[in-house]
């Protein structure tokens, strides 16, 4: 039930902020802040509660579940559940949510109520995506987060906002609809096989799909997620969206929206279509590597600060793709780490870009330079973030990237070596960023404020988390371990017997049984009920 | 008493008339001519109904024709009223002058 409350809280808070926005300009901010903080505290306490159990015994994969019939004619239910992965991403969502509210505290001066309405609804949509265990519901939330995001970019963005908003919306919508087709495909195939027409994720897990059909269905899912991630060559919406969005928009885009893509692959593509995923794995990894290098080179050539950061996201998301399709625990844990750390580090970079824009009224790198003199605090934070983004050990991103590469190395040596070379490029663009903005001769003679207290709090929380994740990431790893373990097991079996299934000549009864067994193990056998 | 007229021939006649009506509608400039041509088409359709009705020796074809007649009357009355309006507004019945909306 707490899950429903979380979404309800955000949506309700949004509406309240919208209404209050008519009366008072600062009320919506406070409402939004309180709403998100409440959710955050709620989740955090639950997480801490859970982690105590986690340390002692291998917990159930599924921690909480809520189910209510929705459209019963189609077997659609309002079905939410969380496991470690979801929980982690939810915590991240609310954490960044708070920051998003804070970082737009001064930036947004117009239509504050509506702004916060959108902000909270995006968060609600994202939370929903992370919790939905019904494919229809998932798709529903998947789309719900788009519209407020569209408004956020389209209304509060900078000069070229409308173009960016369209592009964002059309890209994601197009790919989303293809996913809808795939969802329907699996729904009917499962239904006609078993007679049980349902969108329930757990029931669909065990379904048998002919390999060639599975391949196409998987592609349908993949397109949506890959566009969201985004992976080259589906990335071109991202630089525009990121650079035109307001700070909070960029933060949420980079920090959360992109993560839904990775989450989707982990949650749906791999468990639903293990065989097909195996089949495309080399290509997916190749795309990942291309993304890493292509994104990095593009990032290097940008002159727009936010565009530069956006392309670094493209590069970093390549690692995620690489890691996911390596199918082993190391890489998958790395992927999860990357989700979290990239969210924080790139989010922080965007916040910083927003602060710079507030002060300098430009995002053009060529107009910046030598800002260290006036803003040493920001400069230091920027260096730390740049280091995070180039994967300096001791910061969270390093662990993520290292684990991914380590895992991927097992799966594909040459691609991993190429990907590792991406680390060099990441150094090149990160240092260029620092050089252009903070070092060199000062080009701006007007006095510029360094961090205010609000900004210090914002930054400090992000920087501390990134350092914490770099030095002691175990809580994160523990939280998602059961989920990742199950995924890995699935692939071990699939790998062993997969070729038999793929060639489909003669399906040995024993291995098939094994596969199904593992698949069904992903289903909660005895869900803890934490419903209070 | 009657030798049957081949039904194909009648239908072909109806088809010819129908197509002539179409040609008329397309090539004429004056709205009145277009209306006239539409009447030809409706007549052709009526002929087809009559032929079909007589093929089955049923009155239904004729009934249908009567309704077509009614429709033609109603339509012509509104159409002519519109023509009057157009003439008032444009001082001409040139259909090519009625192109204000496009795109």
């Amino acid at each position: 039930m707490i899950l429903v409350y979380l979404i309800g809280l955000l949506m309700g808070g949004g509406v309240l902020a919208l209404l209050m926005g008519q009366w008072n300009n600062s009320l919506p901010k406070w409402i939004a802040l309180c709403t998100v903080s409440t959710g955050f505290i709620l989740l955090l306490s639950f997480w801490i509660d859970q982690s105590r159990i986690m340390n002692t015994l291998l917990p159930e994969t599924w921690m909480m579940e809520y189910r209510h019939d929705w459209i019963s004619t189609f077997g659609i239910s309002f079905h939410l559940a969380i496991d470690g992965l979801s929980l982690l991403l939810l915590v991240l969502t609310f954490f960044l949510g708070i920051l998003a509210v804070l970082c737009s505290w001064k930036e947004v001066k117009e239509r504050i109520g509506f702004y916060h309405f959108n902000l909270l609804w995006i968060l609600a949509g994202i939370s929903g995506v992370f919790m939905a265990m019904d494919l229809f519901l998932f798709y529903f939330f998947w789309e719900v987060m788009l519209i407020p995001m569209y408004f956020l970019i389209g209304i509060w963005g900078s000069e070229n906002r409308e173009y960016a908003a369209y592009k964002f919306f059309i890209f994601t919508q197009a790919s989303g609809l293809l996913m809808l087709l795939a969802i329907l495909g699996i729904y009917f195939i499962h239904g006609s096989n078993t007679g049980n027409y349902t969108f329930n994720y757990f029931e669909l897990l065990g379904s048998d799909i002919a390999p060639n059909v599975a391949f196409w269905l998987m592609l349908g899912f993949m397109v949506a997620f890959v566009v969201k991630l985004p992976i080259v060559p589906f990335h071109s919406w991202l630089p525009d969206a990121h650079s035109e969005a307001p700070t909070a928009g960029s933060l949420i885009l980079a920090g959360l929206l992109l993560k839904t893509g990775a989450y989707g692959i982990l949650r749906f593509v791999l468990p639903l279509f293990p065989g097909a995923a195996q089949l495309v794995a080399p290509w997916a990894m190749l795309l990942g590597v291309i993304g890493i290098i292509y994104g990095a080179i593009l990032a290097y050539s940008q002159t727009d600060l936010k565009r530069l950061i956006a392309y670094t996201s493209v590069s970093h998301m390549g690692f995620i793709m690489l890691g996911i399709f390596a199918f082993n625990e190391l890489a998958l844990q790395g992927v999860v780490m990357q989700l979290v750390t990239h969210a924080i580090s790139t989010g922080a970079l965007f916040i910083m870009a927003g602060m710079l824009k507030e002060r300098l009224h430009t995002r053009d790198l060529r107009l910046m330079g030598g800002l260290w003199t006036q803003m040493p605090q920001m400069g230091a934070s920027a260096i730390l973030l740049a280091m995070a983004s180039l994967g300096l050990p001791g910061l969270g991103n390093f662990i993520a990237e290292f684990l991914i590469l380590l895992g991927a190395f097992k799966a594909n040596v040459w691609l991993t070596i190429l990907a590792t070379c991406g680390l060099i490029f990441s150094a090149i663009y990160s240092l260029r960023l620092i050089q252009q903005v903070f070092l060199g001769a000062s080009k701006n003679l007007d006095p510029i404020q360094d961090f205010s207290w609000r900004e210090i709090t914002l930054m400090a929380s992000l920087l501390l988390s990134i350092i914490w994740l770099g030095l002691y990431p175990q809580p994160v790893i523990n939280t998602v371990r059961p989920t990742i373990k199950k995924l890995e097991e699935l692939f071990l079996i699939e790998k062993e017997y997969g070729h038999i299934l793929i060639n489909n000549k003669r399906i040995d009864s024993l291995p098939e049984k094994n596969v199904r067994q593992v698949k069904t193990e992903l289903v909660p056998s005895n869900t803890h009920s934490y419903v209070r | 008493m009657n030798t049957p007229i081949a039904i194909e021939i009648v239908m072909l006649l109806a088809g010819l008339l129908f197509v002539l009506g179409i040609v008329g509608v397309i090539i004429r400039k004056n709205i009145i001519f277009m209306l006239l041509s539409v009447e030809i088409m409706l007549n052709a359709a009526g002929l087809a109904f009559i032929a079909a009705g007589s093929r089955w020796a049923q009155p239904d074809g004729q009934v249908m024709f009567i309704f077509i007649l009614a429709m033609a009357a109603a339509e012509v009355s509104v159409g002519l009223a519109l023509i009057l309006r157009i003439y008032h507004q444009h001082r001409s019945l040139d259909i090519d002058k009625l192109k204000e909306m496009k795109g």
Partner: protein, 479 residues
């Protein structure tokens, strides 16, 4: 028996009677307001008579009409649309130069025609219903007869409609020649044993499709749509988009089911091509359009394409999805046109997209309503349009029509652009041409807004909790 006939026909009788009654009221020189209220009352009466007629299960009135659940459903939809258009008409016509009274007579007649279409099971009633609707529409479209656009649209519609009627008639004649009957069921029975359609029948059907296609405004019979939508008074445009298309689609559906047209490859091929081309071309046409009414016209072409796609599998689910989508479409399009009506001024209809600039900051409520309607048309979740599209896709995939589903997806992505364009205009910066709300008629303004708000709530309700409507649609399913 006769009593039952009366009960079954009560909606039609009431509508016909209403038109006469209104004429009498006009003769008594009553005010616009009185007539508006009277017609409102009469519409409500006609609508409620449906519940009365509902007790009869599948009541045929040989040989022309049949009142069954499906026709009741469609009639309900039609009368409901008529009702909404009627309410919205007041503030539109009150400030126009024409005496608005005859308008109501024609409105009733057109609604009657559409209802006849919904209940007809015979070519004669089909033809008559269609013509009542069409001839009524001639009057309605050209209603503001002093305006060039109105008259131009009127004559265009008249010539084209008569032209396409001729095709329809010729096609019917051919079918009649082939089968010896004009009743759907008998026609169906004569085809029962056949696996492929006889050429004469097919030709007739092809020619009929020209006529029907024209009324539905599907490609390649779509070209009139934009001009007529733009030229006609806005309430009438809304009426054309909903009532006229709903009625025609209903009769098409009935005809197809009775003859079981889904068996015939050629026929399906034609339908699929029409649907596919409609979706794509409709959306493409609207892409850069600057006139909102024209945009809605082009979007309606695409939506009719969607409806045809929904029809194509011919399964139970497909029919349900047609009905569901029809409801959604009607509600949504009425909402959209409602906004246009409210924002129209005495001189101008609010159809220039530039005039919507910054609407949100001036009239947030109206802008929100309009946005919801547009998003529903675009098929975005939380709105009913999404569920509708979902059902269509589901029906298609269930039957294995991947191509049509795919084209639907692609074209709706194209379509997204222009809906977003309007929305982003509304939310973009202040300024732009000032659009006035019609505060001059506070009561009717309030009523209109409340009506639109209710419709919007329905859009959202059906989008978030569609089960109710699904059951409803399934209950009123054909057969």
């Amino acid at each position: 028996m006769l009593g039952n006939n009366f009960i079954a026909l009560s909606p039609l009788l009431l509508l016909a009677g209403s038109s006469v009654l209104i004429m009498l009221l006009i003769a008594l020189k009553l005010s616009h307001r009185t007539i508006q209220f009277a017609s409102l009352f009469l519409f409500v009466l006609a609508f409620s008579s449906l519940f009365y007629a509902h007790d009869l299960f599948s009541h045929p009135i040989e040989p022309l009409l049949i009142v069954d659940r499906f026709s009741l459903f469609i009639m309900g939809l039609i009368i409901f649309s008529g009702l909404i258009v009627n309410i919205l008409s007041y503030i539109y016509f009150e400030e126009k130069e024409e005496s608005p009274k005859e308008y109501y007579v024609l409105l009733f007649l057109c609604t009657l025609g559409a209802c006849v279409l919904a209940v007809s099971k015979h070519f004669i009633s089909l033809f008559l219903g269609l013509e009542i609707l069409t001839v009524g529409l001639y009057g309605l479209i050209a209603y503001l007869r002093a305006r060039h656009y109105n008259i131009e649209a009127g004559i265009k519609y008249l010539i084209l409609a008569a032209f396409s009627s001729a095709f329809l008639l010729f096609g019917m004649a051919l079918i009649y020649l082939q089968t010896g009957s004009m009743e759907f069921l008998t026609i169906g029975q004569s085809l029962h044993s056949l696996t492929s359609l006889p050429p004469l029948f097919l030709t007739g059907l092809g020619l009929m499709l020209v006529g029907i296609g024209f009324k539905l405004a599907v490609v390649p019979f779509h070209m009139w749509t934009a001009d007529i939508y733009q030229g006609a008074p806005t309430p009438v445009t809304g009426f054309i988009a909903t009532v006229s298309k709903g009625g025609v689609l209903a009769v098409l559906l009935r005809f197809f089911i009775e003859i079981d047209g889904f068996r015939f490859k050629t026929l399906m091929l034609i339908l699929i091509s029409i649907a596919v081309v409609s979706m794509i071309i409709g959306n493409l046409l609207a892409l850069q359009q600057k006139n909102v009414k024209r945009i809605l016209a082009y979007s309606s072409i695409a939506h009719l394409g969607y409806l045809l796609v929904a029809l194509i599998p011919g399964s139970t689910m497909s029919l349900q999805s047609v009905c569901f989508y029809l409801v959604v479409y009607v509600i949504t399009i009425l909402t959209a046109f409602g906004i246009l009506i409210i924002l129209s001024t005495k001189e101008n209809d609010a159809d220039d997209i530039e005039s919507y600039k910054g609407l949100f900051w001036k009239h947030p409520l109206l802008a929100c309503i309009f946005s919801v309607a547009l998003l529903s048309l675009a098929g975005i979740p939380l709105t009913a349009g999404f569920v509708g599209k979902f059902l269509i896709l589901a029906a298609n995939l269930q039957a294995g029509f991947w191509l049509t589903a795919f084209v639907l997806v692609i074209s709706s992505v194209i379509g997204l652009y222009y809906y977003l364009r309007i929305i982003s205009k509304m939310f973009s910066g202040r300024g732009g041409v000032l659009l006035k709300e019609k505060r001059a008629y506070p009561i009717f303004y309030l009523i209109s807004v409340i009506v639109l708000l209710t419709l919007t709530l329905f859009i959202i309700l059906f989008g978030t909790y569609p089960s109710g409507l699904m059951y409803f649609v399934a209950y009123f399913q054909f057969k």
